[in-house]
Amino acid sequence: MYSEKVMEHFTNPRNVGEIADADAIGQVGNPKCGDIMKMYFKIENDVIVDVKFKTFGCGSAIASSSMATELIKGKTIDEALALSNRAVADALDGLPPVKMHCSVLAEEAIKSAMFDFAQRHQREFEGLKGYQPPTGDEDHHDHGEEE
């Protein structure tokens, strides 16, 4: 059901861990849905010099976290904010339809962290216009019902 790329990132996820003195932290999802993503960022001159993640979730949630962090490492904040969930899924050679919400979570974890950074430094970014921080009980699932 998963692409080789997903399995590869699930087996050998990149950027797992925490950053003790992170410049920004983003966390999305909730245990009720079965997935939580937490991302830690080190940012210098608006460039993401390091990023780590911790994820509670299924194989595609872990692979999406790994791929998303790979895609934004070394990029500017504006570039990271432009990353879409579709781009994460495409980079993984696709996700099953019921697992697309995992890539949405990855995109939102990045946005949530960048919002945290903007708040800490009283900054504004084009990609955060109209951004509402998650309240914790959103439902990103589109699993489709049985029958």
Binding site: Y2, M7, F10, T11, P13, V16, E18, Q27, P31, K32, C33, G34, D35, I36, M37, K38, K54, T55, F56, G57, C58, G59, A61, I62, V98, K99, D139, H141, H143, G144, E145, E146, E147
Partner: protein, 391 residues
């Protein structure tokens, strides 16, 4: 090493069973409804299988009706009773932890104007007999309680439930798909009116099951057509499947006590060693009243599907009650019904043992699983609080 520990999902067909089936796929192809010798051979084979199954239940052969599987038997018992007795009443009692074949049949009947009470279960998965008594009303026509649960293995007090049903003159159906082949079910002792069973859970073929229907119990048909199964279940018989079912049932009940003892020992060995090795683990289901082949554990801070993927990579086949493995939004209704929080339910793992399971396989799982759980925990943000010493 390949280790299959998902025997509650399905089992392989035993060689003796396949051998019994083979002639009916090739040389002996007659339709049992035909008058000629070809048909008569097949008729005889179906009769033998019916006898074999009747014996295991201490029932009469004319109380056994073959179906296309356990789900059909469940649907037939529930809808057939509902439609037969709807002038008497339209209330059905079942439990919150039934298989979907029962639950969804009941939900369908609710849309048709029936009322259904779903009895809750305690943290071990048992219903309360008091709850059952209180739920019975003057218009209750059916009680349907599964013998043992497919996910957590909890065995219900079927005899006591049956006695209550008798006292109130309510028909009693039990879904024994997971129990058949593990426990002795004597229909002369058990006050049960209908029992659903299935072949592929006890080393028979898929696509064949049966409904035990106590003599004198009249329910409506589900499958209309020809006069097969004493005009109760239409359709040309699945001869090879039925023959395989009969043989598998006979084998399963040749020495069911030895089977139970062997699997119970392996099960407890697996369960105890995993619980000793892996911290923050809980056993789901009843500690004693459980199927001899069922281990269901929740590992905190991790999600089941990622565990199944990791186990699959080292050759171990298991299952989980996590939402991500079922394709639905919520984790297993059974795990939620026993009071697990969503996150604990998401981290469940079901390992079900069978006749081919060896001590060597158990040792392999005990060796492979702890590092998998640890790797996923090290990746989990929920585990951070533990490492920080807050738990």
């Amino acid at each position: 090493m390949n280790v299959y520990l998902d025997y509650s999902a399905t089992t392989p067909v035993k060689p003796e069973v396949l051998e019994a089936m083979m002639p009916f796929l090739t040389q002996q192809y007659g339709n049992p409804s035909s008058l000629h010798r070809f048909g008569r051979e097949s008729r005889k084979a179906v009769d033998v299988a019916r006898d074999q199954i009747a014996k295991t239940l201490n029932a009469s052969p004319d109380e056994i009706f073959f179906t296309g599987g356990g789900s059909e038997a469940d649907n037939w018992a529930i809808k057939g009773t509902a439609y037969a007795l709807q002038s008497k009443g339209r209330h059905i009692i079942t439990t919150a932890i039934e298989h979907h074949a029962v639950l969804h049949a009941c939900e369908y009947l609710e849309k048709e104007g029936f009322q259904v009470t779903y009895l809750p279960v305690d943290e071990s998965g048992l219903i309360s007999l008091e709850d059952l008594k209180n739920a019975i009303k003057s218009d209750t026509i059916l009680i349907s309680v599964m013998y043992a649960n497919n996910e957590i293995g909890t065995i219900q007090p079927i005899e006591e439930i049956g006695r209550i049903a008798r006292e109130h003159r309510v028909l009693f159906h039990t879904d024994a798909v997971q129990t058949y082949g593990h426990l002795v079910m004597d229909t002369k002792q058990l006050p049960v009116d209908m029992i659903s069973i299935s072949a592929h859970k006890l080393y028979g073929p898929k696509g064949v099951g049966a409904l035990y229907l106590r003599k004198g119990v009249r329910i409506h048909n589900l499958i209309h057509g020809g006069g097969q199964e004493k005009k109760k279940r239409a359709g040309t018989e699945n001869i090879a499947g039925i023959v395989g079912f009969g043989k598998a049932a006979e084998l399963a009940y040749t020495d069911v006590e030895a089977h139970d003892q062997r699997l119970t020992a392996l099960r407890d060995n697996l369960k105890n060693r995993l619980m000793e090795t892996i911290p923050y683990t809980r056993l789901n289901g009843h500690p004693e009243r459980r199927l001899c082949n069922n281990v269901n554990l929740s590992f905190e801070f991790i999600e089941g599907e990622s565990m199944l993927l990791s186990l699959d990579m080292v050759g171990i086949g298991a299952s989980s009650g996590s939402a991500c493995t079922s394709g639905s939004l919520d984790p297993s209704h059974v795990l939620l019904a026993i009071g697990l929080s969503h996150e604990i339910a998401h981290g469940s793992l079901r390992l079900t043992l069978g006749d081919m399971t060896t001590q060597e396989e158990i040792d392999y799982v005990v060796e492979q699983l702890p590092p998998i759980v640890q790797r996923l925990r090290d990746m989990s943000p929920l585990y951070e609080q533990v490492k920080e010493g807050n738990r």
